[in-house]
């Protein structure tokens, strides 16, 4: 097991196209989430808004390493960038946050609880850790069907979710069955307001990999190139039949738990420390240094994505909301004569 991986993006620096794709997803997600935050503060969104600010690199790195239509991806609360990189349309987000009946949850669930289960992206529930076994079950099914191939299933968690029983049961199950499974834990230092010191006692969460008998990789999640490289390596290993992989990325959550939360419990020293760096800034600098993008290109993308986001918001706002009178109120698909 590899406990620490130095930011040596072997081969990645040459893969300009891939790096640009990851960065584009990060940028799209950041612009989209900034808009959701504004709409929330303007009172246009009912319920919570939860951002992935500061963890776009690890999330998009994972989403871009997966192949839509083949791989499985169960994003969690802070994975807008991963969703976008995996291919989720912006409209799925705006429709869900704004309550359009045309969105994937049709107003029945909100914000980050959306997905496309039949397109390889199961929906999250609020209870943490439970998606591990769901993704593992999707892979188990494909193996039973004889169509597993080089498919990979991945899901994401935060540091807090590693304390749940579901985390343990799910990772152990994936390990016992030696499934092509990738778990990305983004340690953003806080689970809502609870710091790492009250959440776990090991030095680095990646140490848990040894206990479960899975591969483990740890990375500075603010370092764009290192993070994309490490997450890609974990996916490669799982795809190559090396069994489940646990990646731990270290960042700071650059927002509150939700937009209702000012995160005043995060000390200023931590905000100004290394882990408080914004991976968006690091990515931009690294890509410019590599010559993979130009400042003008980034400015153009920013303009383009802002326009796309605006359109996705405007469209969702014009669409019908759910109607309790025409809602079928059916929790099961079978129409029984009795209820």
């Amino acid at each position: 097991m590899q406990l620490a991986t130095q930011p040596k993006p072997a081969g990645l620096a040459g893969n300009t196209e891939f790096l640009r794709k990851v960065y584009q997803a990060m940028l799209r997600a950041r612009i989209l989430e900034n808009k959701m935050s504004s709409l929330y503060k303007a009172g246009k969104i009912v319920g919570g808004v939860y951002l992935g600010r500061g963890q776009e690199a690890v999330s998009a790195g994972l989403g871009a390493s997966l192949v839509k239509g083949k791989d499985f991806f169960a994003p969690l609360i802070r994975d807008q960038a991963g969703r976008t990189a995996f291919g989720e349309p912006l409209l799925d987000c705006t429709r869900t946050y704004l309550g359009s009946v045309l969105g994937p949850t049709r107003g029945r669930d909100g914000n980050v609880h959306r997905g496309r289960p039949k397109e390889g992206m199961p929906t999250m529930i609020s209870h943490l850790g439970v998606q591990l076994s769901v993704v593992a079950g999707m892979l188990f099914a494909k193996r039973l069907q004889g169509t597993l191939g080089d498919r990979v299933g991945a899901t994401c968690l935060g540091d807090g979710a590693t304390s749940t029983g579901s985390f343990h049961e799910g990772l152990n199950f994936a390990a016992v069955e030696r499934l092509p499974f990738v778990l990305v834990v983004t340690n953003n230092q806080y689970a809502y307001s609870t710091p790492n010191t009250s959440q776990f006692a090991c030095a680095d969460l990646v140490e848990k990999a040894r206990g479960y008998g899975v591969g483990g990789l740890s990375v500075d999640g603010t370092d764009f190139l290192a993070t994309v490289s490490v997450v890609g390596e974990a996916v490669r290993r799982a795809r190559a039949g090396e069994g489940p992989q646990l990646v731990v990325a270290h960042v700071l959550r650059l927002s509150g738990h939700g937009e209702h939360d000012d995160a005043s419990y995060v000390p200023q020293e931590m905000r100004s420390s290394h882990c408080g760096r914004d991976c968006m800034d690091v990515a931009r600098t690294q890509l410019l240094e590599l010559g993979a993008v130009t400042a003008d290109e980034i400015a153009g993308w920013e303009e383009q994505y802002a326009e796309e986001v605006q359109q996705a918001v405007a469209q969702a706002q014009q669409e019908p909301q759910p109607d309790p009178d025409t809602e079928d109120w059916m929790a099961v698909s079978t129409h029984f004569p009795a209820r």
């Binding site: 929906t123 769901v134 079950g137 199950f173 099961v332």
Partner: protein, 321 residues
């Protein structure tokens, strides 16, 4: 040749594995060992890879089934005891039970729950969970009382596109025998008149059907004809058949083995009072287990659980009210 209730469950699973390549069974000790109650005896050899042992991880077992169902399978999960499903409660009610409503994608999983008390089994191997699961939206809760129902309702349950909680009663496993598994095959959601009568209606399900029928037989010599309705499924609940019976008898006793606060019997009484108050000639009555954990000692256990004697004596009060 006679067939037991547990034979019927094994035979149903054999047929399901034979007929439908989407079906597989997953649970603790169910592969070559054949399960704690031998409900999967020999099936792992016949269907390699499709009858698989799980770690002791009820949460992951159900989460796995949810993922497999999304990918087109029809998993059957064997809980070793219904009691242990509490560990999987979150996955059952929040993941599986909400899935269709939230996403529009059906969730065809079946969770077999060896339920109910047997002498000496104690607080953690005796529970009846049907009321707990019926309370949540999105789950179908089956409670077969006969060998034929044990067979057909498992097959019909697995065919449903929804999560099914299949409560199989451990007391009936080897005690209940029939000449064959063939029998009247009613659709899920339809109750059955287990014993016709005209003086009072007992609504029961699972093992309590047999206790109720015996209590009714005891009263026959005294001239009372008590009707026993076997609900077969507590969700959906066939209110119509219950009301039709109460319309004939004017008296209702609901009997269930689970704890007394709420649950299936309270639901039956509540529905009859709401929709059939005018049919009642006496206040409706309920019998459940006592409001303590299920005790270990056979003397305590048989006084904790509703049985033939308690049902008979309760009926005496109801009949002369």
């Amino acid at each position: 040749m006679s067939v037991t209730y547990i034979d019927a469950i094994r035979e149903a699973q054999l047929k399901l594995l034979q007929d439908d390549p989407r079906v597989f069974i997953y649970g603790q000790d169910i592969s070559t060992f054949g399960g704690a109650f031998k409900a999967t005896k020999g099936l792992a050899d016949l269907f390699p890879g499709r009858v698989a042992d799980s770690p002791i991880s009820e949460d992951a077992m159900v989460g796995m089934a949810v993922g497999a169902a999304i990918e087109g399978m029809r998993p059957i999960i064997e809980m070793q005891f219904a009691d242990f499903s509490s560990v999987a409660f979150n996955q059952i009610v929040n993941q599986a039970g909400t899935h269709y409503y939230r996403t529009g994608v059906p969730m065809p999983i079946t969770i077999r729950m060896p339920s109910g008390g047997t002498a000496g089994s104690g607080p953690f191997h005796s529970q009846s969970m049907e009321g707990v699961y019926a309370q949540y939206p999105g789950l179908v809760v089956l409670t077969p009382a006969t060998v034929s129902d044990a067979y057909h309702m498992l097959i019909d349950g697995v065919a449903l596109d929804d999560p099914v909680i299949y409560c199989e009663h451990k007391y009936l496993y080897r005690w209940l025998k029939a000449e064959s598994m063939a029998g009247e095959r009613l659709p899920i959601g339809k109750a059955r008149i287990a014993r016709p009568g005209r003086h009072a209606t007992v609504v029961a399900y699972s093992a309590m059907v047999h206790e109720s029928v015996r209590a009714a037989e005891d009263l026959r010599n005294e001239g009372w004809e008590v009707e026993v309705v076997d609900l077969r499924s507590v969700k959906p609940l066939d209110t119509e058949t219950v009301l039709e019976s109460v319309a004939r008898t004017g008296r209702l006793l609901a009997v269930g083995e689970s704890f007394p606060w709420g649950g299936a019997t309270a639901e039956v009484v509540s529905r009859v009072v709401q929709d059939g108050f005018h049919l009642l000639d006496a206040p409706p009555m309920r019998i459940n287990a006592r409001d303590t954990p299920v005790p270990y000692h056979p003397k305590l256990w048989s006084a904790h659980r509703p049985g033939q004697d308690l049902i008979r004596e309760t009926l005496r009060q109801l009949l002369v009210y």
